[in-house]
């Protein structure tokens, strides 16, 4: 495997945690995804998702944006999640590593 190809394949233990892997997968599919959509898709509580999002944010893989909502009757903000460029690269490399493992290859 060339050096360049090796850089694109990297097993990331931080991303590999089951909840975080799925969160990254959802965020990689879009520019931003609202918190409740991710929570419902992964089927975890608000607190659990917040904990995992914080880990991703602290690693520089994700970013959080609060925005007002006109669909809510209260004053609470919507929370939008997105992967950073570093997060997208790390996730892409991790998926490549998973594929290599699934195919019985050594990443």
């Amino acid at each position: 495997m060339s050096a360049e190809a090796q850089r694109d394949v990297h097993f990331d233990e931080l991303i590999h945690a089951p909840v975080r892997l799925r969160v990254c997968g959802l965020l990689a599919a879009a520019e931003e995804v609202e918190f409740s959509v991710v929570r419902d898709a992964v089927d975890v509580s608000d607190a659990t998702l917040s904990k995992h999002v914080k880990v991703l944010v602290d690693a520089g893989y994700a970013a959080v944006r609060k925005a007002p909502s006109s669909v809510r009757s209260d004053a609470r903000l919507l929370t939008w999640l997105r992967l950073t460029p570093a997060g997208r690269r790390a996730f892409s490399a991790h998926v490549a590593a998973l594929r290599a493992i699934a195919e019985g290859l050594t990443p």
């Binding site: 089951p18 799925r22 879009a30 520019e31 995804v33 409740s36 898709a41 996730f91 998973l98 699934a102």
Partner: protein, 151 residues
């Protein structure tokens, strides 16, 4: 908690990839434009093309045509709570092609109105609506494929 042997297990890796694909499919279903949105946009385009044949004061019509797409897009975005990935050059190509077709049909509508055949402007209007709906569906399909592909 996974141990080191799990990390290199092809079965776990395959299961993880399958979960990612399922999640992607759920996002892909969300980013697609709902039927009411495409229908609404298509209807506005039809009204736009039929405009020359409507006669009278069209200022209210122009206001609706200017604000209508914005209102529809805002409602659509607030409901789906997913901001889709940015579209690529191919999608913009389809949008430009649609714009050219709509402008051509608008010119036909002008011609019909000027020739005293205003009721026949319904035909280019319907054609414009159909073209808009078809292009919208094509762009949606492209977006869904893009989103559903695990990278």
């Amino acid at each position: 908690m996974e141990n080191d042997s799990d990390l290199a297990d092809p079965r776990h890796a395959s299961a993880a990839l399958e979960a990612l694909e399922a999640d992607r499919a759920s996002i892909a279903a969300r980013v697609a434009s709902p039927g009411w949105y495409l229908t609404g946009i298509s209807a506005l385009v039809a009204v736009f093309v039929a405009g020359p044949a409507l006669g009278g004061d069209r200022s209210g019509l122009f206001a609706m045509l200017a604000l209508g797409p914005i209102v529809l897009a805002v409602v659509r975005d607030r409901r789906r709570r997913v901001r889709p990935p940015k579209v690529g050059g191919v999608a913009w190509g389809w949008v430009l092609l649609l714009l050219a077709v709509v402008l051509l049909l608008l010119s036909i509508s002008f011609g019909l109105a000027a020739g005293g055949l205003a009721p026949w402007a319904a035909l280019p209007a319907l054609a414009a609506a159909g073209a808009t709906f078809m292009v919208g569906r094509r762009l949606d399909a492209q977006l869904r494929r893009q989103v559903a592909r695990v990278r």
